[in-house]
Symmetry: C2
Amino acid sequence: MNKESIKQIPHKTIERLSQYRRALLLVSAKGKTHIFSHEIAEIQHITAVQVRRDLMLIGYSGDLRKGYKIQALVELIGQIIDSPSGQKVAVFGLGNLGMALTHYLSGRRENLYIVAAFDVDEHKIGQSFEGVPCYGMEKVKEIVARENITIGIITVPAEEAKATKNLAIEAGVKGILNYTPVPMEVPEGVFLEEYDMITSLEKVAFYVKELGSSDLENTKRTASK
Amino acid sequence: MNKESIKQIPHKTIERLSQYRRALLLVSAKGKTHIFSHEIAEIQHITAVQVRRDLMLIGYSGDLRKGYKIQALVELIGQIIDSPSGQKVAVFGLGNLGMALTHYLSGRRENLYIVAAFDVDEHKIGQSFEGVPCYGMEKVKEIVARENITIGIITVPAEEAKATKNLAIEAGVKGILNYTPVPMEVPEGVFLEEYDMITSLEKVAFYVKELGSSDLENTKRTASK
DNA sequence: AGTATCTTGTTATTCTTTTAACAATGCAAA
DNA sequence: TTTGCATTGTTAAAAGAATAACAAGATACT
């Protein structure tokens, strides 16, 4: 896996690699050492050929008779998607969603550390939540620089979204995960990923309506992301 | 817009329509009555041609000189993606994330009503959160049927994910929004949308790493969904 | 009237992603 | 040995989505 080939791994494959790894760790914990593509596929509810194709893209070869060696595959995925020394993450906005994410993600993945949260609420500033210290917004530059935070999760109210994103990027954040409903733009060299819960909910509502109004429809849709 | 043509609206267009509508409502509130495709594009950080293409797909025609009539467009989008009498939503699992979603989505969209939450925690059962009553899991069938709940948001712990999804579908839910990291499968006639926060975070981490390791990269990536 | 400019609507093209097809391999059993 | 079977790895095709290209219309200006 040289740099060139990694570059051309499709986004969707990167996403699935993250998911394969977690699935593999689960089955590995049950004592299994090898796994077939169709077994992975079954767990993920996708097709075996897609699994094989993804693994082909990262250059992993399985055993024709035993399938894939779980441990080796987990390690290879780690080599591809993890940073050697990990990355640090900050949550911007400790409202309900920010708090939930902090709780949910804290300690979930080794190699990704939530090390700070920022909010405007005087009651939260100075406290720690899930072991994550909360600072005021005026501390962003200082903390991001000091801790070398590379990823920012934005969960502030819509009105503050743009300014917060700019602040984070100015402070040195290189990746933004935007959970506000406000579409963003980032400069060169910064990666942006957006997810809008309202859109997702409305999408589900739309297809529920559509499915209900026609029985001929191809019904099962496992859209993800 | 007959049924046939709606059917073939791409998923991504449906998602964008939801976003266009909210953007339009915002600018409409500022007194604007007409808008050009490139203005919508600018707000959404996409291209004007994509906006026009989306609007073409839903059969909306703008004025060649004034652009699109905001109110009429909002109404048309509503006709396409909303159900005439709205739909009811239940949250399964009132942990941090479920609570955040309940808070975040409650009353956010007319036409989509969060009318119930389900949890196993005795302290939560019987209480209301954001005006949403919380019931025990044994009440799912009764409440879903009585309230005619069509959409279920799953935010239970991973171990309970599959069983909860099955319970919801048995009770009559037709759309599932899965926020657990457990990939799901649904029977014919049920729509499934999945979002995995860990995957998103790992994806951002991966591309931050990649961007950092090469300056030649096409840097700006506004992947959404 | 004629020309320039800006916009929409639509077709064509390119790019991305998924799915299908199938050769090659290794083992087991006849 | 040979046949059959289940698997991987890869190429080819199809489907889905974004981008480009451009004709046509409307207005303003000369």
